[in-house]
Amino acid sequence: MSVLYTKSLTKRFDGIIAVKDVDFSLKQGEIRGIIGPNGAGKTSFVNLLTGRLAPDSGQIVFQGVDITSQPTWKRARLGISYSFQITNIYSGLTVFENVAIGAQMRIQQSSKSGLPFDQKSNLEEIVDSCLSLTGLDGSRAQLATELAYGHQRLLEIAINLAVEPVLLILDEPTQGLSVDEIEEFTDLLKGIRLNRTIILIEHNLPFVMNLADRVTVMDQGSILAENDPKAIQLDARVKAIYLGE
């Protein structure tokens, strides 16, 4: 069953078509890589999913709900969580508070659906589990701005994990990381995938091929190919756009 699908999704900027008639479908629990050259429309496409952009036409359905015209924050409440390409954390707050903001959202959501919650202890529990998942337990009381860049990326992920998303969208997560850090990051993602559906937008092809169950290739606003990583690597059209770049 697909957790998310789009129907002929289209977005234009001043006459340039950024996203053109995209039909996209995502299975529950899969890790999907989205690749493509610069300007292929990956980021615009994802911004349409999160609601940061409004489409000109087309439809987005998430877990059976049409979210096409819903604002960003409502989509996030439904379970679409977006991790920013440029690290976007609360730099003036402690690591704990950063994650707590996400955790509080989760608690609010679940208490609305009627689950009994002891807020305070629960909040700390969620935060601590997210911090230990991302290996940030040691920096709990540090200010986010004092963290090393790689750790800030991890914090970004931890904030997203705290809201317990159904769909986690990671925009260029490996950008600016060292080779070692990318390796750790790969392990981390493998560790946290559990039942989550993840979209990875990446330039780093080996990273995507290593992690993704399926890969979507975008070019000039449309989907050029979609298959498992092995098949994509052999696809002549994909080679053409990457070699032609």
Binding site: T50, T72, W73, K74, A76, R77, S81, Y82, F84, N88, I89, Y90, S91, G92, L93, E97, A100, I101, G102, Q104, M105, Q108, Q109, Q119, I159, V163
Partner: protein
């Protein structure tokens, strides 16, 4: 117990209130009067700080809310002969409604536009009090009638002409406000405010309705400010347009910046410092405005965190 940060900060707040209580026994009448005024204006600054210090929204028009409570309490007493407690509650309710309306409109803007819009709304309110001077008394103002100088709650008689009584009422109101704000900013709502202040777009992406969060800050802030205005009008039995002027908006900003934005006790400390600083210079009006200007500039240049903010950052992280 005392080493636990949250217990420590509760202790700090309760002792601050207690200190003001004990202080009343040794004060001369003159200082008692001054501190009564300071405490009421502190509530105003406290409310201002909820919006500015916690939610990060810099309003230049909070005099509007102060004046709103001020007139909503004073006018019915003057024209309709209402009782004091009823007028006070009515003023608070009106302030909440006005804050909701102004918030719903003004929060469509951001940053500098928000500052200017709040300034302009407040200016409109000020001009309104001047224009309808047959009702409001305009610049000269109105002195509240004799029946409003005392009131009774459940059999207890309060005499508003007694400095002592006024002092304790002001202290009571301030303590309640401090504890309420303390609760809010240390709970979930406070976390949401800070999240919006630090990074609004990120907060929205996490599923928060940031507009609603800001609106809540606006309502709480406006209601506290209105309550302070109402208390001021009732205690000193006078209402006049001066209290709606931009000067009062700037004062709230000044107290908050000076004491430390984003700390519960900062605005209170700020108003105490300013009042006694001015009291120190004798020539009131001229010196006061000049000092306001100089201090605003110096604060922004060298001391942007204010007194408590700096203390908090350097040594006492647990100050809320």
């Amino acid at each position: 117990m005392i080493n636990n940060p949250s217990n420590r900060s509760v202790t700090l707040h309760i002792s601050a209130c207690l200190f003001l209580f004990l202080f009343s026994f040794i004060l001369s009448d003159y200082h008692q009067l001054i501190i009564t005024r300071i405490m009421i204006l502190s509530i105003f600054a406290l409310g201002y700080n909820v919006l500015f210090g916690y939610a990060g929204l810099l309003s230049l028009g909070h005099a509007l809310f102060f004046a709103c409570g001020f007139y909503a309490a004073g006018l019915p007493i003057y024209h309709l002969g209402w009782e004091v407690p009823f007028a006070f509650l009515f003023a608070i309710a009106i302030s909440a409604v006005v804050a909701t309306l102004i918030g719903a409109i003004a929060l469509r803007t951001h940053g500098v536009a928000f500052m200017i819009v709040t300034l302009m709304f407040s200016q409109v309110a000020y001009l309104t009090t001047l224009h309808f001077s047959d009702i409001t008394g305009g610049d000269e103002g109105l002195v509240l009638p004799e029946h409003a100088r005392s009131f009774e709650i459940i059999g207890v008689q309060f005499d508003l002409t007694s400095p002592q009584t006024r002092y304790y009422i002001a202290l009571g109101l301030l303590s309640v406000s401090v504890l309420a704000v303390y609760r809010w900013v240390n709970g979930g709502l406070g976390r949401e405010w800070v999240a919006v202040r630090e990074n609004e777009s990120r907060t929205r992406m996490l599923g928060y309705n940031t507009f609603l969060i800001k609106l809540k800050a606006m309502i709480i802030s406006g209601t506290l400010s209105g309550g302070a205005g109402a208390a001021y009008a009732l205690m000193f039995a006078y209402i006049g347009s001066t209290f709606a002027s931009i000067q009062y908006s700037i004062d709230a900003l000044l107290y908050t910046l000076l004491g430390g934005a984003g700390t519960v006790l900062g605005p209170i400390l700020g108003s105490f410092i300013m009042f006694y600083l001015i009291d120190f210079f004798s020539e009131y009006t001229t010196a006061y405005l000049l000092a306001t200007g100089v201090i605003l500039i110096l604060l922004m240049l060298f001391f942007p965190l204010g007194v408590l903010g700096t203390l908090k950052k350097k040594w006492f992280h647990w100050i809320p």
